[in-house]
Structure formats: C-alpha cells, structure tokens
Subunit: 323 residues, 2 copies
C-alpha cells in the first residue's frame, strides 16, 4: 500500500499519474493514500486561472509554465475541461498546445473532465492538487472556464485567482461583474496587441474602483490592490510580470495571515464535505432504487410529506439527532 505513496514522494511521475487516476475514479483505497500524502503536502502555491471561453487562458498558462521553468520551478497544471458542446472544440486546440509541455519531466499536466456532480469535481481537484503538492510540484495551476457553478467551486481550492479577459470581449465584463470579480486576485488582459485592449483595461479599472471602495470599507480584510496586467502571449510579453504578481500575492497572503485563515476555512469545509459524502453513500447503501422510487412517488402523490420521509431515512442510517 505504501509503495505507490513512497514512489510518488521520491519523484516517480508514473506513480503520481496512477494516483491521479485512482482519485478520478474514486477508488476507495485512494483515501488511505491521500491521508498519508496530506502529511507531505502544504508547500505548493495553488493558483487558479479562470475566464470566459476564448479569453486565451490555455495559451496564457502555457506561457506561464515556460517562464516558471526558466525560473527552475517544478510546475503542476490541472486543466478542467468543460463538456459543453458550445466550447469543447475551441478549447481542444489550445489544450493540445499545452500538452506539448508535458514532455518536460519537471512539468506535470493533468486534464480533468467537468462532467459528474458539482461537489465531486471540486473534491477530485482538491485531492489531485494534494497529490501533486506532496510530490513537490510548486506552483500548481488550476485552469477552468469560469462560468459554471462547478468551476467556481473548483476555484475555492486556489490560493490566488487570476481572471483572464481578452479585448473585444466586452461581453464578458458583465459576467465578471456578476461573480468572478469577487474571487479575482489578479486580472490579466490577454492579446494586448489587439485593438480594444485599452477599452477592456479601462472597464476593468472602473469595476475595480467600485470594488476597492467596498474592500476599504470592510476593515476585517487586509488590503490587496488587485493588479490589472497586460500580456501578449504570442510575443511572450508581460508574462514575467504575471509570475511576479502571483508571487507578490502569495507573499501578501502569508504576511497578512490570510493564507492560514483560508486554509482553515478550506479544511473545515472539506471535513464537512467528506462527512456529507459518507452520508450520501450510506443513504444509497441502505435504500434500494425501488425503495427510493416508492418514497419519491409517495411524496409526489402527496400521500406522504418529505419531512417524515427524511426523518425515516435519518433513522435508517443511524443518525443521532440533537435532542
């Protein structure tokens, strides 16, 4: 059992690849390995990269990895692929380009599909990051299309979040406004050599000035001034500045004590998620499909109410309720 863990810790990439597969397939043994790996993790800076389809995330990540390699880092990448028929094709091309990096033994890239349930993807991503972290990869970049609920969940694993926009996609400013702004630590405007880059930068600056006001009022938060950076990845411009900003944000998290705070919040929600996952499994094990169907039909036909059915199931799985 310890064999795969020991091989991973000694730098065996195939052992890591196998572990990731065990995690993705939710093999029960993975949990024992992960418990062991947890003691060796906690050194990596975990960076999320998100933004609308077409913003140039994969290209940016490819260039970031190259620059990190120049700085001699051992880099991990988890790329979440959406299964949407609208965006699938466009992303595939970029992904192939990114995969070319994986010939480098100091780069570990893993692509994960976002099918499956919400909590499932976030949990798998967290565990894959844990495995890469224990194996000495640092930083670890998580790339997602920042639109769905599942992807926002995934971003919670990241310590620093880069939100990527491209000029001429004014359309996605609204989307940013809607939710991504709240999770952004660094903004990157890609394709800065294209027309419209200045307008995108100006729009972001305006949004950020609104947000700054909010943050300055919230005295409980130490203040991080969100930088807006320009890159032209094709020309390799601005990439070192993004890496520097990532490092500065990490330093800020450490010095402000927020890294420790966030880690505690994440651990708490992970423990709760693990217990709830066990409850869902217990429910499945104690209730056959036919029984479920009968219970659901009884409630739908209003012969029974959902509250009494829930109480019955709580008893069945042994739950000791507060008296």
């Amino acid at each position: 059992m310890e064999n795969i863990v020991e091989r991973m810790l000694s730098g065996d990439r195939r052992a890591l690849a196998r572990m990731v597969t065990l995690i993705e397939n939710e093999v029960p043994a993975a949990r024992r390995y992960l418990a062991e790996l947890h003691h060796h993790a906690g050194r990596a800076h975990i960076v999320g990269v998100t933004g609308a389809p077409g913003a140039g995330k994969s290209t940016l990540v490819t260039h970031l990895v190259r620059e990190l390699r120049r700085r001699d880092a051992k880099v991990g990448v988890v790329a979440i692929d959406p299964t949407s028929p609208f965006t699938g094709g466009a992303i595939l091309g970029d992904r192939i380009r990114m995969m070319e990096l994986s010939g480098d033994p100091q780069v570990f890239i893993r692509s994960m599909a976002s099918r499956g349930n919400l909590g499932g993807l976030a949990a798998s991503t967290r565990d894959v990051v844990r495995a890469m972290d224990a194996a000495g990869y640092n930083p670890i970049i998580i790339e997602t299309v920042g639109t769905g609920q599942a992807e926002v969940e995934v971003m919670r694993t990241a310590q620093s979040v880069l939100v990527v926009s491209a000029p001429g996609m004014g359309d996605d400013i609204q989307a940013i406004k809607a939710g991504i702004l709240e999770i952004a630590d660094i903004f990157v405007v890609t394709k800065a050599d294209k027309p419209g880059a200045d307008q995108t930068l100006a729009e972001l600056a305006m949004l950020l000035s609104l947000d700054s006001t909010r943050r300055l009022h919230d005295k409980s938060l130490p203040y991080w001034r969100i930088p807006v950076l320009k890159t032209a990845a094709i020309k390799d411009q601005g990439i070192p500045q993004v890496i520097d900003a990532m490092q500065q944000h990490y330093d800020y998290l450490v010095e402000s004590g927020m890294l420790a705070n966030r880690a505690q919040r994440q651990v708490r929600s992970e423990i709760q998620a693990l217990v709830l996952h066990a409850v869902v499994n217990a429910l499945k094990a104690k209730t056959t499909d036919d029984e479920w169907q009968k219970l659901v039909e009884d409630v739908t036909s209003r012969e029974r109410d959902p509250y009494s059915v829930a109480s019955e199931l709580e008893e069945r799985i042994g739950l000791r309720l507060p008296s």
Copy 2:
C-alpha cells in the same frame, strides 16, 4: 398547532404571512406545519423570472401580476433580493413599485434576502412556495437576479423559467450563454420600444438555433420551442402574450409528462437536502466550537488528515456506514 394551518387554508393572509416568517427564521415548528401543508399543495404553476440587473424584471413582474389579476388569478410572488452593494439600490425602486400591488387581497408578495447559505435560500424559497401553493395562490412567480449560484439553485423550484433581457445590454448575452440558456423556457426582451431591441432579439435567436440543434439531438427530451417575446412594460405591450406562453409551457409540461418527472426529481433532491441538513445540525450539536477549531488546526498543521477526522465525526453522529 393546527390553528395557523387551518387559518391559512381558509384564506387568512396574516396566517400565511406569519408562516412565511416562521420558514425564513427556520423555526423548528415550521417543519410540522409544512408537512401538513404539503398535502394541500401541488396545484400552483411555479414560474421563475430571472435575468441580469437592469433587465427590467421587477417591472415585468408587476405588469404580469396586473394582467393575471385581470384574468382573475390569485397570484403569489416571491422576490429574492440580492445583498450585493452593486445592485441593491437599483432594485429597491422597482421593488417599491411592485409592493404597491400588495394592497390587492388576491395578491401575496414576499421579499426574501439572499444572504445566508446557498442551500438555505433554495430550501426557504421552496417552503414559502409550498405555503403559498397550499393557500391557493396560482401562479406563483419567483423573481431573482440570475447571476449567482444561490439564485440558480432557487430557479430549480420553478416549473417554467422566464429569462429577461433588455436592449443595449448586449453584455449580458455572454452571461446568458454561460448558464442561463440551459434553464430558460421562455425569453422576454423588455423595453422593446428602445433602440437595439431588434439586435438583442437577433442575438437570442442565434443562440437558440444553436441550442435547438442540441435539443433535437437529445431524443430523450420532448421538444419545446423556446419563444422569444417582446414587451414594452411601460406601454403594457406584449404582456398578455407572455402570460399565454407561460400557460402553453405549463400545458406542455403536463402533456409531455415532464411536470411529473421534474416533480419527482425535485422531491428526491429535497429529501436528500433535508437529511444532509439534519447531518449538519447533528455535527454542530455533537461538536463544540472549540473542538471544531482544534480539529481544523490539527489538519491544517498536518498532524492529522481530513479523512480520519471525517471518520471520527461520522462515528460521533452515529452514522452507520455500508460495510
């Protein structure tokens, strides 16, 4: 105990208002009342209205309610107010206008704040709708700003979802693309007398043609052709057509068997959510804040791993795991 339920069922609005407050405050007794009310609910058509801030949702809802009153319906409205500092102000004005309707004894309007946790708001909304339904309101309209995770959760309670856009907000097409498209049953373009209305209609038509292709390929879904309707609420134009489309969608749901299907899915997820909620309560009751803090710190400092802590907590709440 039955008093409040009986008064509600006999049409007492103050009893209903009190029940809604009990639900919002998560008073334990509410669950007993709701179990009783469940047997009287199931008649209302539940309609969700969502869209970006500024799309004119509240104005549209106000006009829909007036038209429904002309048709002699007894109408319920649940308005979810976001707590975001960005949108709060803009919505308030519309909301006041909507509240003027509540002088009518055949209209019941309740505003709910979207603070609090994700699952909590969706559960409260579902229960408030259940109470209004049992009290004979039909249809019941749920209005949310369709951007956050919490709001998308809330929309699952609706049987028919109207997505509202306004001209000159091309920006939100991207947001629609991103996630709202998948939950839309009817599109409404408001302010159709303003410039740019035709462009917004054309953009939606293009998105829908993409979506139609997807739906036609999925043979498991009966086909509903999503209508795109124009309204100019100020002039009261297009409102009867929206009400007609709502009715047609309801008829389609009934005839295709999808209403029953959706109801079963919702009941199943409600029962699971109730059990998980009980688990969270049991965890709270069996673990003091200090104990939680200690467990979290042990995991954060990597003295312990999250999996063994989760197992310990599972034992503590009595969970019988599948062997």
